[in-house]
Subunit: 182 residues, 4 copies
DNA sequence: TATGAATGAGTATTCATTCAT
DNA sequence: AATGAATGAATACTCATTCAT
């Protein structure tokens, strides 16, 4: 996450793990296998919980907020929050990983949110918008924040508070798609 | 932009440029110098125009929309749109470039937007929000889109239309920070 | 010593050492470091013994001969005898090494000899000559021989016998600076 | 002479000559040809005069001194004095040049001196010594001085005066091989 | 199971050489 | 005649991978 795949030396990984260079090889047959394991391990938990929120009942407005808060919270852990940056960086070098990440994580999460938005439009809470587009708009700032925190955000002298960002975003977005008052 | 700094071989750059391996070296003393030149060249034009929009007159609401549209349009050119992805990827390996990119591009653009938002609040067009936070919220989706298009977006079977994304975002955001109707 | 620093390929060093190309790099971080190590290792022993002979007692004439013989004998080992040629060749490319070689080896040795000659003049064995100049004159042929043997001397069809050279030189030189018989 | 053959870039030669890189190539078909030309040009004059002194008449003692002084004086010109250092350095990389240098310059000069010494022994001026060995002993310090001045001698804080060196050497050497007084 | 010495494929970089202008 | 842009062979250096201990 710090330097990308190519610029990360296996020996540095070993040192960071507190073992010798040769030990890494015992557990991972190749550098690429180690990389895949890191990504897999990090997104596993995320995958599991995403869909259970889609099928809940209650106000779509509240469920959407809950899902976004869950994603934002998950990405707070640097081991998870660094993954989007990593995937974005390595798309060109590991197309298959990127593809399955896109399908298993991005698409799935997007669809879940689009579904909730669809429900919200149906019950009159939201004004009629393209659900997929709206799902992007509600998630992208959250992902961007995670990427930002793990990259250029380092040079922010006065970094944005993640909670304030999250809540202001939710507030603004939900106002923005709220059905017009009659 | 495709593979990142380390995974891009100088010979591939040469081939792409239609010259021989040695020719690249004639023009750029090192791989890093070539990298810096690419980034510099790409963000130059962007730097120039950002601030001229800050100081305009007229409705803050319209000027904010114009600025966001300008950024979005600039990022449509793949030579510019790939830069955010590249900078995000290489932060760890080229801290100084990242730092100046953050300062010269990100910060400046953010401040310009925050200023317009501040004006909007003052004249009663926008409800009172943290201007910096709001500036993040209005730009982040645009940047995220650029990063997305140049990375995981490739695997989208049904990619989002950039114009629809931009306009829906602006519409939703501007509704979201609009002052409450009396 | 054979081809000089630049013309010596690291791979040839590896082959000569009976290891693979990469192995050299494990032990020496750079070609220059390897070079420095070679020189350091070669002149170490020489450094140690030079001064112990300066402080001896007995006839300056005999002690000077002993020191010259010691230097000549040390230079007989090709790993040591090649160093002067190497240093002379690489002065322009490794000024710091050359400087410390000059200081630690050349100067020290010269001073030791000058001191003995000074003692010889004082006790009437030698006629009054400039001790530094005389020290040069007594050592230079010995160094020159070492350089010669490791360079152009190769093309001598009838090479000079080192022992004969040494003894004839000592004989001639000592006659040459002997105090005039009363 | 400064950096040796390999470490000297053709472009630096061009700059030193006040012409462009391409111009050097017009005059010398290759780097090696340029090198050969430099050496050839430098030793040409030396070659011519060496033998005319061998065949002179008069005291061998004086003629030997004259020849040594001539060699020493020639080597005072840095363009000539640097040649021995250069040849010594590049023996391994240009065996043929080294070989002809050895034959045309070193051997010829040595033979001339040996001949004079032989004459000196015959006429009773010199005591019986091996003429070749003695020729080495009378020339080596002079060559060594030239090499020294163009290499490690640079680091001498108090450099030896070439004239004093030459005269002291001649004096000491001629005393050293003088026939014993009856 | 853990180690680290040894390996060699891959790549940036240097620079002599070519040649069109 | 002089130039300098373009080339590519040569080589130092990096580092993933292998494997004996």
């Amino acid at each position: 996450m710090e330097r990308g795949f190519a610029a990360t030396r296996l020996e540095d990984v070993a040192v960071a793990a507190g073992v010798a260079k040769g030990t890494v090889v015992v557990y991972f047959p190749s550098k690429e296998a180690l990389f895949r394991a890191v990504v897999h391990q990090s997104i596993g938990p995320l995958l599991a919980k995403t869909e259970e929120l889609r099928d809940g009942s209650g106000s779509p407005r509240l469920r959407l907020a809950e899902l976004v808060r869950f994603i934002a919270t998950s990405l707070r852990d640097p081991r998870v929050g660094g993954i989007p940056k990593l995937m974005v960086s390595e798309v060109g070098n590991f197309p298959d990983m990127a593809c399955s990440f896109h399908g298993d994580v991005c698409q799935r999460s997007l669809q879940a949110q689009a579904e909730i938005i669809r429900q919200g439009i149906a019950c009159g809470e939201f004004r009629p918008v393209d659900p997929i587009l709206a799902a992007h708009l509600v998630t992208d700032p959250i992902i961007m924040q995670a990427i930002w925190r793990n990259s250029l955000g380092r040079y922010e002298c006065d970094p944005v508070d993640p909670d304030a960002y999250l809540e202001t975003h939710l507030d603004t977005f939900l106002r923005g798609i709220a059905a017009a008052p009659t």
